[in-house]
């Protein structure tokens, strides 16, 4: 933390023209940097949309159906299927909600960097670090939800786990859509991390 002030000053000096070094930075460091920042903002807005819709679809996936009791097949009871019946889906919702919140914060930060490019390089590093962390969380949540959803879809005859999707069709469609959106969000995070790294690489003179 002690090295922040000199580095910020150095970056600010880089973004200024040599003739007007006493003025605040009026423009981003280079046109390529602005383009990268704009793409970054667009990807983060997409990430926000994907994670928000994924959370909403997962949370609203509840479906109730008349299911015959195993002990008395002639008697049917109305049983609901909810996302919070499975710990994997609860983790999924928590992880995607964190990613959604993260996308709001970083979209604002990315817009802030376009307006005030003195902190551009430092933010690229932070973005690359945090995007990778968030990717790990979103990818693992996608895997967990996908793994459990697949058991629900196909069952597992080796251990006697029955199919769920043959009964709860709407529930499974929602879970599938939500998992696909989370996969899209994970791909976006891969692209965002690569973009930040590439922008850093491009700044090496």
């Amino acid at each position: 933390m002690a090295s922040t002030d000199p580095e910020v000053a150095k970056e600010a000096a880089q973004s200024k023209s040599p003739a007007k070094s006493d003025l605040p930075p009026p423009l981003p460091p280079a046109t390529g940097a602005v383009n990268c920042s704009v793409v970054d903002v667009v990807l983060r807005v997409l990430l926000f949309s994907a994670t928000l819709v994924a959370v909403i679809v997962m949370v609203t996936s509840e479906q109730s159906k008349l299911v015959p009791l195993p002990q008395m097949p002639t008697v049917s009871v109305k049983l609901p299927a909810k996302f919070n019946h499975s710990p994997a889906f609860i983790y999924f919702v928590a992880a995607l909600a964190v990613a959604c919140f993260y996308s709001i914060i970083t979209t604002l930060a990315s817009i802030g960097v376009i307006l005030k490019p003195a902190f551009y390089t430092k933010f690229l590093l932070y973005f690359a670090f945090l995007d990778v962390l968030m990717l790990g969380i979103v990818a693992s949540a996608t895997g967990a939800a996908g793994g459990v959803a697949y058991v629900g879809l196909k069952g597992n005859r080796h251990v006697g786990w029955v199919k769920v999707c043959s009964t709860y069709d709407k529930f499974c469609r929602y879970i599938g859509t939500s998992t696909a959106l989370a996969l899209f969000a994970a791909v976006l995070l891969v692209l965002l991390s690569m973009l930040s790294t590439y922008s850093l690489y491009k700044r090496i003179r």
Copy 2:
């Protein structure tokens, strides 16, 4: 691809001392870069060990037990539990095997960069890109295996999925160990990606 030659020449020139610009680069660009490369190699060797052991433990998790038939509880049959009974575990083995192979290739590449530092910056970019991709694959495989293993451990009374780990204890221990190792591998990939990005950041003058 057309810009490769001038960039390589520029990087080679950076690593040479100004007085001996006609000689090949005898030393890495800086001591910090060598330290980062050594840490990179160590982390990649750890990644190789973790993924290899995870694959071996998962593949050797087979266990056979006498299980009473549901239709006739007095009759027991010997039933095996194998990793390839679940698509999530098959995906896990495939993903971790790819990560293991990737770790061998990149360890060799990283050692090569220490010996021939002219390509250091370009390799940092490639490593950062590929580590992020591999992290997505390993994290999703860890999530999928963890999600299914948790159902095996706790069951799910809402949909009538029975516990498996109460019967197949050794099988579940192996699956748990393998998933924990994959989680460790995912953390290593996060660190590797961050290290490459940080090394790029440090090269910005």
